[in-house]
Structure formats: structure tokens, C-alpha cells
Symmetry: C2
Subunit: 264 residues, 2 copies
């Protein structure tokens, strides 16, 4: 709920400034239940009825590869349709953060007020992807905590990036509920993108993302072919049965599947 409230307030502020905003999601659904448990993240009340905004519902299921591909393709379509700001959200399950970082110009990490060693709750790998960090819910009784968390995070990032870094991600505090600090979040995102652009890094980044995407498609297609291969499909159920019964080791079964795939 925190995140969709943020996107709702942030997107509304951007359409208020004349932007056309599209919201896409990379959210491979849970493989176990497929259901939503801790909140309805599609609750973007204002943005959903804003004529300058388009909110695409998350695909209800799919592999990360498939969902990421659909999102990339939607980005191209939305850009062509005149949306100048495309927000791609991720629930942060599995490798979806990395997938999203590989398709956007700037990565905004949204955090909650945390202090002390609770900083560890933020995954190091995700922190490294962030270009701008916003500590949300800096309102009412949480304002002090949010500001303390922001200071602490800023310190960690300075250590992480060093003095001479091209860009040290700013850590801002904001409140989506009260719509405060959101303008600064956007300014810093724009500043990051302008810096990327003016130094030629944006073009380089996009080129790298295209190469990365090439290999993603190769891997997804190859694994798709494996699972669709007639020889593999004919052989696999029997091999799985033997592995279950303990008549065949996983290693040997894997070799036989690969052998069958290699035959044609």
C-alpha cells in the first residue's frame, strides 16, 4: 500500500506539471499461491482516473523473463504513444529489481523510516542499483525517524560510492500522504538523467541495456525450447519418476535430459 500511495501521489504531481505518465509493473506473481496477501498494490485512486496517466494492471502470472519482456515492449509502445514519463514499479521479489534496473534510465529506491542496524533490511544489491533514494512516510510522528534514516543511508552511500564518484545517490525524505518532498524527488531524478545525458552516459547505458536484453531473450528462448522439445517431453516424465523413486540420481537424470535435447 505504501508504494502504490507513493506512485499515486508522485504520478499525480507529474501530470499536474504537464507530463503524461505511464505506470507499468514487473511483478512476477508468487509461484505458490499467486494471490495477494499483504495489501492491494493496484490502489492508485487518483492516477487511475487521471486522463494524462495510464496505469497498466500487473500481469496476473508469468515468469520473470516473460513479464520483463512484456514490460519492455509496453515501454516502447507507451513512449511512442506520447507518454514522456514511464514509471516501472517492482515488488522486489526475486531478481525483478535487476530486471527493472536493466530497462530504465534512473532507478528510484523507495524506503521506509528505519534506523540503526535495521538498515541491513535493505538489500545491499538493491542499494547498489539505486540512483535516487526516497524515505517515504516522513510525516506526523515518523518524520524524525524518516530524517534519521535518510541521514544514515546517505552516510552509507557516501562510503559506498567514494568521494570521486560520478554520481552519489541523494537520499531524500518525503510523504506521499501529505504530498511533501515529491517535487525534490523528481528534480533529483531529472538531474540524474540530465547528467547521464550530457556526459554521453545515457546513450552508453541504453546500448548496454540492449546488449543485456539480447542475452535475456537468448536465454529465455533457449530454456523455452528445452521445455518444449519433443524428445525432452517424451523422456522427462519417466526420468522424473525414476529420480523420485531413488532409482536415478539427479545428476544422471540431468545428463539424459541434456542428451535428449542435443539429439535433434
Amino acid at each position: 500500500m505504501g508504494k502504490s500511495t507513493f506512485i499515486d501521489a508522485f504520478g499525480t504531481q507529474l501530470t499536474g506539471q504537464g507530463h503524461r505518465v505511464a505506470v507499468l509493473a514487473v511483478d512476477p506473481s508468487s509461484s505458490r499461491t499467486g494471490g495477494s496477501i499483504l495489501g492491494d498494490k493496484t490502489r492508485m485512486e487518483r492516477l487511475a482516473v487521471d486522463p494524462a496517466a495510464f496505469v497498466r494492471p500487473s500481469p496476473s502470472a508469468g515468469t520473470l523473463g516473460g513479464v520483463a519482456k512484456a514490460t519492455r515492449e509496453s515501454m516502447v509502445v507507451m513512449e511512442a504513444a506520447g507518454y514522456d514519463v514511464i514509471l516501472v514499479e517492482t515488488v522486489g521479489v526475486g531478481q525483478s529489481e535487476t530486471a527493472v534496473a536493466n530497462m530504465v534510465d534512473s532507478f528510484l529506491l523507495l524506503s521506509l523510516a528505519r534506523t540503526g542496524d535495521q538498515l541491513q533490511g535493505i538489500k545491499k544489491g538493491v542499494l547498489e542499483l539505486a540512483d535516487v533514494i526516497a524515505v517515504n512516510k516522513a510525516d506526523g510522528p515518523h518524520q524524525r525517524d524518516a530524517q534519521a534514516a535518510a541521514r544514515e543511508l546517505a552516510g552509507a552511500l557516501r562510503l559506498m560510492h567514494g568521494k570521486d564518484a560520478f554520481w552519489t545517490p541523494p537520499v531524500l525524505s518525503c510523504s506521499a500522504r501529505e504530498s511533501t518532498g515529491l517535487d525534490t524527488v523528481w528534480e533529483r531524478l531529472e538531474q540524474h538523467r540530465t547528467l547521464l545525458d550530457s556526459t554521453g552516459r545515457l546513450a552508453a547505458k541504453r546500448r548496454d541495456q540492449q546488449v543485456d536484453w539480447t542475452w535475456s531473450m537468448v536465454r529465455d528462448e533457449l530454456l523455452g525450447r528445452l521445455h518444449a522439445d519433443p524428445a525432452v517431453r517424451a523422456l522427462a516424465p519417466g526420468l522424473e519418476q525414476q529420480v523420485r523413486k531413488g532409482e536415478l540420481t539427479a545428476t544422471l537424470a540431468a545428463e539424459r535430459i541434456l542428451g535428449a535435447f542435443g539429439e535433434n
Copy 2:
């Protein structure tokens, strides 16, 4: 630091009860810096010098598939060497939680005191993997928060699992620093495993894990062959260059790489 303090205290308690404890890790290192920023997680002071314990340092680098394979193989070795408790820790980056869930009998989720909508900070996908949940740092001024967080989590889990579930993960609070509540964590883990065992589900789970492992090995090996393939290696740099220059789309480049791989 929170997690290694927990493992240190928990493992020490188990060796005190006569168990032999091995600690392994599934921690594919950060692809960007490879370094540790927010804490030294190998700090297990007591366990490191405990003759009844073995702590394997995390591999310093590698893909998730490679690290998971090494850990699975170590588990077999440690079991054969007489370690009756094997703790496999994960930093929770990328898909490592799922990889760990696919190799253990019981999955313990360690959380910190959080209340209110901060529950959303715990990934739904991870919550679904948990067999037992422990809210750590229930000490000093955080005790009340930890207990409130535990109650709230327990409520969410009851909703998630329903009344007639085979097993509803208990949510416990504990303090690794003060070594309180750790005995209950172990009791509940044992209870979970005993229930699995007595109902035949442990055997079924292990069989499923073997099948899952089979396919993991197939996928890893296939992708390894792709990247090692002479035709692919000969063609790829030129194609990447063309993609970078915008002379070739990612989709077409992907098709050509797959074509080259299919040739032999």
C-alpha cells in the same frame, strides 16, 4: 550483523545440546562491487571456535546456480561427516531464498521488529516459503515492538494459510543477543520436521527437491554450453557491437545467436 549474531547464538545453543552443526551459505556476491558494505556477516565469534561446529566461509563469487550447486554438494558431505544440523543461510538477494527452500527440510525466516504497514517490507514470496518465523531483537526497548510485530505476522499467516492448513508457521520472538527464545525456535523447527516425517511428507518433499535439482542442473548446464559454444563465442562480439551501434535490434541479434548455437 543481525543474522550472523543469530546464527552464532542459535548454533552455539544447538552444540550445547549435543548437536553437531554445520553452517553453509548461499550468497551469490553482488555483481556490481562484489564488496560488503553494510556489515560483516561472517562474524560468528563463538561458533567459529566451537569444535562441534563447522562454518564454511561463503564463496567469494559466482552465479546463483553455481553457488547453490556447491552448497547442495557440501550438505551431502557434511551430513556424511556426522553433522546432524545443517544451517543454510542466505542473504536474500535475488532468487537465493527459493534456491535455499529447495534444498532444506525446514525454512526459518528471521525478521526484525516491524509493525503496521511496515509488514510489507517482508516480501510475500519469502513469507510463503517460511515454515517458522522468528522476530529477532526482542530485547530491551525493542521487546514490545518485536512482540507486536510477531502478533501481526501471525495474523497475516493465519489468513494466508487458512484454518485447515497442514501447518501454519508459528511466529516467535527471540533475542540472539540475550539468547532468549532460541530454544523455542529450535523446538518448533523440530516439531515441523517431525510432522513432515510422520506424515510421509518429508520423503515426498525430498523427492520433489531432487526433481527440482535435476532441472536446475539441466538449465545451468545448457546456459553454460551456450556461453561456451565456439560458434556463439565467434559471433557474439560482432553482434553485440552492431546492437550497440543501433545497426541491429536486440531481437534479431538474439535470433542469430540462437541460430549459431543450433548449428552444431
